[in-house]
Each structure stands twice: as structure tokens, then as C-alpha cells.
Symmetry: C2
Subunit: 332 residues, 2 copies
């Protein structure tokens, strides 16, 4: 501990639609302290950014470290965004469209700030500290309300020309198929996200189809958490099981396509749905991915569950801050 | 011309299923001389490799250069293959499975040899000398008998973990859909390749559907070249037009998916079908790509025809040789 006053830390921030998480994190990924606030996403942009800064300050306070020991802050935010300029381009669910996040945060805190989109950040967290440690080529897919993804090529996040590569939930698995929230048709997200499944459950219930869901959540579909999916599966609810199996099959097809295009070493599958039903869904995803990919590409690929859970966001944000502070490129 | 005896050149080789092309090429892409031989793909491996070496020698002879001025040879071959070891892993249509191409060629010619798969090489040719010049992120799709592709990320070919990334023809556009030659279902190639379309034409003709194809090629489907497609289109043949339009639409959907995943600056569409019907097919591909992609990703993307035609292979192979000779990485 002799050197502890000189040891440096960063803040990792996970800015979500309902809450903002911040943590003080060391270079090997150790979480020193945490803080949390509601996002209040409908409030004015300045207020949301103010809450973001104050949750950072709270995390530092809780760490008992001196602020001099904090070298920078990494932030994961919903996008699309411009990670180079640190600006949010558009966020339908949080009032941050056009917000110059990094300028604001580094102005307030007096340390460098770095920004990337939430799912990229989560994938980067798994790459540096989680299930993807040591891989050069990696794909992350996160199944929840929507389906997000991130791509690591040769150890760097793939941003591409628009800085917004890696929209893996919008891979078209059925050309001109089901309408997606993004406005297109046939996207994986239009079949395998919670939002898509709820749409189908509603239709089925309306048609008088029996399901334990009506018992578990009444007609309040907001209560349909991943845990409720788990309960319905355990109760052998056919409607829910069929829907989840279909979602897993189509996710497998999409993963197969991604293997053929990107040829990663590992595919990490995360998100609430997979956390709740890992043993049920992952084997179906694996089987259908292998079935939908060249054997030479799929043979040594591992399709594994995410390891960091909800901490992928803060840890990935911290990892980005660490690398950027050292002048290393984190993305191409 | 004072320095001409010291000027260096490389040989670019395009090893195809029916012919082997070789050319002596300067660093700015100038083709000094060419040679060509039949592949005779069913002959013993040693014989095919012998033909490859002798066509290289013929190209050098035709160039009137001294062999000392030839620094290396780049080779594009059907795959899958291991470009690092210079070994063909498998080629269903050419008897080269397991062939140590680069060892053999550099042993015979006494200069370094470099190998990559034919479609990667074509994409790299377009990237260095053709329609993709100056782009950092690029996708190439080539529509012919099959559908091949190549991906450039940050100026390098994407090989991925298996060295076989970029199998863009096997993106699934209709999960569990039409059977593909690769054994999977629903691949783009199962709808938009010449092979797939011929399958559908045969069925239609068998059902008694009228088409000018019977007049143009009788029942010899091997005669169904891209030029015949062109003629049938010009004759307003509904069967052919509908099939080509469907192929272009689904190619557009696949391009939209690829944009969402990779976010390139340009997509280059090449191959015999597109050369013969560029004005008819490209607008459909463009429209459907934009319709099937996030606007923020598609807005500045150009979807353009390939510029090098059949020379993409020899030029791409030469470009790989030039870069490798200088110790530059060409792939990740």
C-alpha cells in the first residue's frame, strides 16, 4: 500500500434509459466504489448531464480516494453517436440528442472524458475483463428489450466509416419480414427481442390462447421481465417456450451469418434474457449458428455467455478510458 | 527510362477453375505483359502447379524484362485456404486440396510468393487500384456462378480467426429458406447467383412457362452466360426479368445488413451479371440496401460498380505482393 496515493483510477459510467451507474475502477478492473442515480430521461439535456457528473462525484467520494488520483472518465451511452467528437447524434429514449457529452463532463470534472455507445462499451468490457479476454476477433450480442451488438476486429472496436458499425440486431434474418422498431423489416430484433415477443404474446392472448403469463403479470406487459420468462418456461408454458425457441433459432441463424462475415474467435451472448435462460437458449443458438455457417469457420468458434452481467458497461467504459489515456487506439 | 533496368515488378496470378492468368505488373498497377493457360482442374495437383509456374515464366518472357527485376508473385486461388501458410485447404472444383502453393511457386521461381483467396484478392485489387481507392472501410460483392465477397477494415483485408472471413454470399437472407450449394439454407447465393437462377428457370421451363431462353440456348444451360441474361432482359422476357429483379432485391437486403454490421465507406458490386446489367441491377440493389439499413450508416455510403473487371484478380494479387514485399500487413 506504500504507493497507494499515487495509484491511478478511472471512472466508468453506464448511462442507461432508466439509471446512470458510475464506478471508480483500477486498471486491472477492480471496482473500488459505485454510485447510482435515476436518469430521468425526459428532463432537459443539461439536467441529465448534471446528474451524470454528480453521480461521478459521488462514486469518487465513496472511494475515499483523492480526486487527483482519478485520471479520466469513460462513458457508455445509447446512440447513435460520434465517439470521436464525444457527441450523441440521436437518442429516441433519452433527451440527449446533440449533447456534447465529453466536453461537458471533462469541463465539469477537469479530466479527459471518452464516449462510445453502450453496447460497444459492453462488448469492450467483455473483451478486456470478461468472457472475451485474450481474443483478437470477437462478437458480442446482447438480447433484451432490443438486441444490440459490438464487433472487435484485431483487438479494436469496429466503428467503421460512420462510427456506427455493429448494429447486429438489425441483421435481416427474413428479407421483407416482420416490421422492426427501427422502421425496417425482417431484422433479428423484430423476432428475438423482448419487444418483439411481447407483441406476439399480446396477439396470442387476444386470440384467447392460454398462457401462464396472464396469471403472472395480468395485462401489465411492463412486468414481463426476464425472470417472468424464466417462470413461464419452468411452468412449461407452450406459448412462451415456442416463442423463446424461435428467438434462439433465429439468433443462431444471425450468429451463423456473422461468423461467415467476420470469423471471430468467440461470440459472447449476453443480456437479461440469456442470463435468465442460459442453459435453455444457448444450446439452441449454438446448434443453429453451426448449422448456418461454413464448417471451416465455425469449427473452433466458442459461443459463450457473457461473464460480467450488468458490470460490462462500467468496466468497458473504464477499459476505454484506460486505453485512450495511454494513447492507444480502441477502435477502427 | 535511365533507371529501367533497376525498376522492379511483380507477377500477379489469377488461378481460376477454367484458366490461369498471369501478368507482370508495376507498382502503380501498370500491366507490362500477360500470359494465360487452361487450368485443367481435374489433373494431378503437381501438374496444375506446374502450369501455374510456367504461365508465370511466359508472362515474364513476354515482358522482355530480366527475371532479376521480378521481386515476387501474388496468387489468388479458390479456397478456403490458409493465406499465412500459403496452403489451399479445400477446392471442390480444382484439384488443389492441400497444395502448398507458395512453397512450390517460390521454390520454382526463386522469389517470394503470397496467397489469398480469389474474391479477397479481387476486393483488394479494387481497393488499391480500382473503385475503392482511398477508402479505409470497404465491402466487395461479386455476383456470378456463385456470390463471393471480401471485406476491408481500416485498410486491411479481414481474415478473422479462421482466415476465412468475408463469405458474404452465405449471409442468410431468409432463415431456413432455399437450399444453397454450401449445404446451408437461405444464403444470398441460394437466391441471387446464376446457379440459383438457373435452377428456377429449369423448374419454370419444365412447368411450360414461356421464355426466350429456350430459343437462345435450347436446353443447354451451360450456355446461359451473363450476355444471354442481357439479351433476355432486352427482349423483355418476364421470367428472366422477375428472377433478376428478385436477385437484386435480395442482394440489396444483404448489402443493407452488411452496412449495419460493417459500416463501410463504399460497397463495390462486381461480377459478370452486374457487368452485363449494371444499369438495371445497381439501382435496385442501392434502393433495397438503403431501405434495409440505419439511415445514419447508409447516408454517405456509395454503392458502386467494380472498376477493374477481370483484371481485379491479377491486380489484387500484384498489390498483395507489393505490400508483403515491403513488410506491410495486408490482412487482419
Amino acid at each position: 500500500m506504500s504507493n497507494s496515493e499515487n495509484t491511478k483510477y478511472v471512472i466508468g459510467v453506464d448511462l442507461g434509459g432508466t439509471k446512470i451507474l458510475a464506478a471508480v475502477i483500477g486498471e486491472s478492473g477492480e471496482v473500488i466504489s459505485r454510485a447510482k442515480k435515476k436518469t430521468k430521461p425526459e428532463r432537459p439535456t443539461e439536467e441529465i448531464l448534471g446528474r451524470l457528473v454528480s453521480v461521478c462525484r459521488e462514486a469518487v467520494e465513496a472511494s475515499k480516494l483523492s480526486f487527483d488520483q482519478i485520471s479520466g472518465v469513460g462513458i457508455g451511452s445509447p446512440g447513435p453517436l460520434d465517439p470521436e467528437k464525444g457527441i450523441v447524434i440521436e437518442t429516441p429514449n433519452v433527451n440527449l440528442t446533440g449533447a456534447k457529452i465529453t466536453d461537458f463532463v471533462s469541463g465539469e470534472l477537469g479530466i479527459p472524458a471518452f464516449l462510445d455507445n453502450d453496447v460497444n462499451v459492453g462488448t469492450f468490457g467483455e473483451f478486456v475483463y470478461g468472457a472475451g479476454k485474450g481474443c483478437r476477433h470477437l462478437v458480442g450480442i446482447f438480447m433484451g428489450t432490443g438486441i444490440g451488438g459490438g464487433v472487435i476486429v484485431d483487438g479494436k472496436l469496429l466503428h467503421g466509416f460512420s462510427y456506427n458499425a455493429g448494429e447486429l440486431g438489425h441483421l435481416k434474418v427474413r428479407a421483407f419480414g416482420a416490421k422492426c422498431g427501427c422502421g425496417d423489416r425482417g431484422c433479428l430484433e423484430a423476432y428475438a427481442s423482448k419487444t418483439a415477443m411481447i407483441k406476439n404474446f399480446k396477439k396470442a392472448v387476444k386470440k384467447g390462447k392460454a398462457t401462464i403469463l396472464t396469471e403472472l403479470i395480468g395485462d401489465n406487459w411492463n412486468k414481463l421481465t426476464s425472470k417472468v420468462f424464466r417462470k413461464a418456461w419452468d411452468a412449461n408454458d407452450k406459448l412462451v417456450i415456442n416463442e423463446l425457441e424461435r428467438a434462439a433459432k433465429l439468433t443462431g441463424v444471425a450468429v451463423g451469418s456473422l461468423l461467415d462475415v467476420l470469423s471471430p474467435e468467440k461470440v459472447i451472448i449476453g443480456g437479461g434474457l440469456v442470463e435468465a435462460l442460459e442453459e435453455e437458449l444457448l444450446p439452441i443458438i449454438r446448434e443453429n449458428a453451426k448449422k448456418n455457417c461454413f464448417p471451416i469457420i465455425s469449427k473452433d468458434v466458442e459461443i459463450v455467455p457473457a461473464a460480467l452481467g450488468d458490470d460490462a458497461g462500467i468496466l468497458g467504459a473504464a477499459a476505454i478510458a484506460w486505453k485512450r489515456l495511454k494513447g492507444e487506439a480502441v477502435a477502427v
